[in-house]
Subunit: 461 residues, 2 copies
């Protein structure tokens, strides 16, 4: 890490509005750095007692002054270094939430010597001061961005250091491996093979297995964080769009029953029981000579590949053994697939008096019988979706959900592949995997990496 | 006041998100009521020390639990009754600002026995518990809504109790008057006129003058709070809309020079040096036989009546003595008017090499020479606008800026008129003015009044 650059970061006192933008009952501004308390005292006067005595972790009611005129009545707290979020001297000002007041206080803090914080700079300082590692810092951003319970749980776990400990443990094993290799090199000059080479290869294998598990967890982790992609497919006019609308409406009904159920209308993403589902409506599948239509169908197959759950919708009033067999055949690679869940949705049950037994037999797959139009059994479909995810769920395992981590782990794995080859050919190889794992927690880092991570934060954190 | 209703208000513990809606680095939730601390302790665990010991005005870092699973790392503070905003037991929770976390904490607080606060209910409780009077409560709402420095200053002054004291002082004088009237009534039975009747009439006159001052201050107070209406008028094609755009652009340029200068694009309201101006573009004024056009012109005259500042725009390249005299004659009622400022804006100076001396003479009024198109001298116009307001400014006088107060004062005044008439005809009259003034500060109030005031607040305050 370029430490000279880091110290210039640390030298000045930064400030920002920490609460959401806009008008609220109250708003909170934050200062971090050596001058925090000194800057505060220039504009703040306690309601009671000597202004010089401001203790850490106490709350003080008082007046904030704008050039001797009262600006606001505020609550102020001070966190003495290192017992603060950033590890530095931190001051928080809780003011009335008018935009005018928030803005004016920010200006006053800057007038008195603070500078506007960059996005994520408070958390960057917490990292640079050793309060948290890079994984935990990234978890803070994920925590703030989390929209569903699963995304939130992953962020909390990561913030608590579970993933950090895992990576540190693997790095420790790698260091052990490095010392074994060192030992072998000493012997190799004498052209004697080190007695316990098998210990090395076993260790290498163990580390590789662990890393591979983490690498493969990314698919699920990423999907749980960003929303599980669900492709709705089927022939034209079987009611795919009606079904989508019905699900989205169902969700509105769910809101009142299940807490935390919210919908992002723009993306057609809904949260059911803490899981975020991202619905993808697709063009109807049929054989066509129309180029444009075929392009649409091609895109549908692309979306099927990206989806974790495939809802194949058929019109129950227009189904026969032959057509269903064709479907099952067409999608057989997806039906028996550990990565994907293939569900049959038999729509338009309102058109039949009852579902004929022979149809039930045809639909040998897990099938949900619904009427999208009349909004019947949509809650069963929602349940089935949740169960499909629960079945593949993590059981407390660590899930990699960040592409930076995924890449570093992939690079570490391929570096270990090189080491393995080196073993076989008796060519000593650098343990670059150590570097890659260190980059995840921030034990090894660069300003470039830090910038790219923290620039995605919001200001004030 | 209906006290039985008020106690049901007070019996339960209320909670709300107090910071602006949406995602931020942090968010603050607030609890008020007897159960605040008890509810907190069910979901919160201090990082260090015994959870039972939570002192007032201290900050505690700890974990918030959602059914034994960690929900967030939070900072918690407790304000022991009566040393809190509401006067009740108050708890504040500062959490990570994800919408999921904010929402979930709110749900947990409700699960544990709090109920969602109504808009303004925290401030209502502060009023009901005698921490602030009604004027100060209303000032809190104004403070949060304030967009300009003047609106903010008026709110702060009112929150500090300046207006309250004034009303209380007037009420005291009214009570004195009441006792004098009482005395006179005692004597009147003996058909002897009370010796010092002049004392009574003098007192009545003094109170009336004070109330009249307050009543008339409403025009300025209201305008300063909501934005000073500026009508831009003139013949067609003299460049009124170009001038408006130019002013709005000037303002953008001003942003970097003068702090706190902001523009509300939707309403074409801009803030210059702390004053909010509300610009009203109007239809061109000319004699026409077209009915629709004449309706537009009629509306222009309506807007002129409502405006505090009238900018009469003329095309300097197309002006002569005759036409100007006509203008001055047409608007003479507004030119010498204490309520309005009439300014001449001579536009299109870019069309002339220099301004001919004889034109300057014609434009005997205060005139700003500009080129809206080339954005010349617009800063001078902005300066002139600010000076026009400063000249009529309050000099620390109390300005009534709330229509509820304006109405109560008007009613008090007319009630005093009745009293005066009663004097003249020797008919004793109730001092209803006492009631009207009491309603302003809340010494006399009803649930209806309280509801109408606090329902306009934001939730969380």
């Amino acid at each position: 890490m370029n430490n000279s650059n880091s110290t210039t970061y640390i030298a000045d006192t930064i400030c920002a509005i920490a609460t959401a933008a806009g008008r609220g009952a109250i708003a909170v501004l934050r200062l971090s750095g050596n001058q925090s308390l000194c800057i505060l005292k220039q504009i703040f006067e306690k309601r009671r007692g000597n202004n010089a005595h401001i203790k850490s972790h106490q709350l003080y009611l008082g007046t904030l002054f704008d050039n001797e005129k009262e600006l606001d009545e505020v609550l102020v707290s001070y966190f003495k270094s290192p017992h603060s979020y950033t590890g530095e001297e931190v001051v928080e000002i809780s003011c009335h939430g008018s935009e005018f007041i928030q803005q004016r206080i920010l200006e006053l803090l800057i007038e008195k010597g603070a500078r506007m914080a960059k996005p994520g700079e408070f958390t960057l300082r917490a990292f640079l001061n050793g309060k948290i590692d890079l994984l935990q810092a990234e978890a803070v951003a994920d925590l703030i961005a989390s929209q569903s319970k699963t995304a939130h749980t992953m962020a909390i776990d990561q913030m608590r250091g579970g993933f950090s400990n895992k990576i540190k443990e693997l790095r420790k094993q790698l260091l052990h491996l490095a010392s074994l290799i060192e030992l072998e090199l000493d012997f190799s000059e004498e052209n004697v093979e080190f007695a316990d080479r098998s210990q090395m290869t076993t260790l290498l294998e163990t580390i590789k297995i662990e890393l591979f598990k983490l690498k493969t967890s990314f698919r699920l982790g990423n999907v749980l964080k960003k929303g599980i992609p669900v492709a709705i497919i089927g022939k034209p006019n079987v009611g795919k769009s009606t079904l989508l609308n019905s699900i989205l409406n169902e969700e509105k009904a769910l809101v009142s029953e299940i807490p935390g159920t919210t919908r992002d209308a723009i993306e057609d993403t809904i949260v059911i029981e803490g899981y975020s589902f991202r619905f993808i409506d697709t063009a109807g599948l049929r054989h066509s000579d129309n180029t444009i239509e075929n392009m649409g169908i091609e895109r549908t197959y692309e979306k099927i590949k990206q989806a974790n759950i495939i809802l194949y919708v058929c019109d129950i009033s227009d189904v026969n053994s032959e057509s269903m067999e064709q479907v099952l055949n067409e999608f057989k690679t997806y039906i028996r697939n550990n990565d994907k869940t293939f569900l049959l949705v038999a729509n338009k049950i309102d058109r039949l008096e009852e579902i004929p037994a022979h149809l039930k037999e045809i639909l040998e797959l897990e099938t949900v019988f619904v009427s999208a139009k009349r909004h019947e059994n949509i809650h069963l479909l929602a349940e089935t979706l949740v169960n499909a995810v629960k079945n593949k769920n993590f059981n407390g395992d660590i899930l990699v959900n960040n592409s930076r981590h995924f890449e570093a782990i992939s690079q570490a794995l391929s570096a270990l592949g090189q080491v393995e080859k080196g073993f076989e050919n008796n060519i000593p190889t650098d343990l670059m995997a150590l570097y890659h794992l260190g980059a995840i927690t921030g034990e090894v880092t660069s300003d470039e990496i830090l910038n790219s991570i923290f620039s995605k934060f919001c200001i004030g954190k």
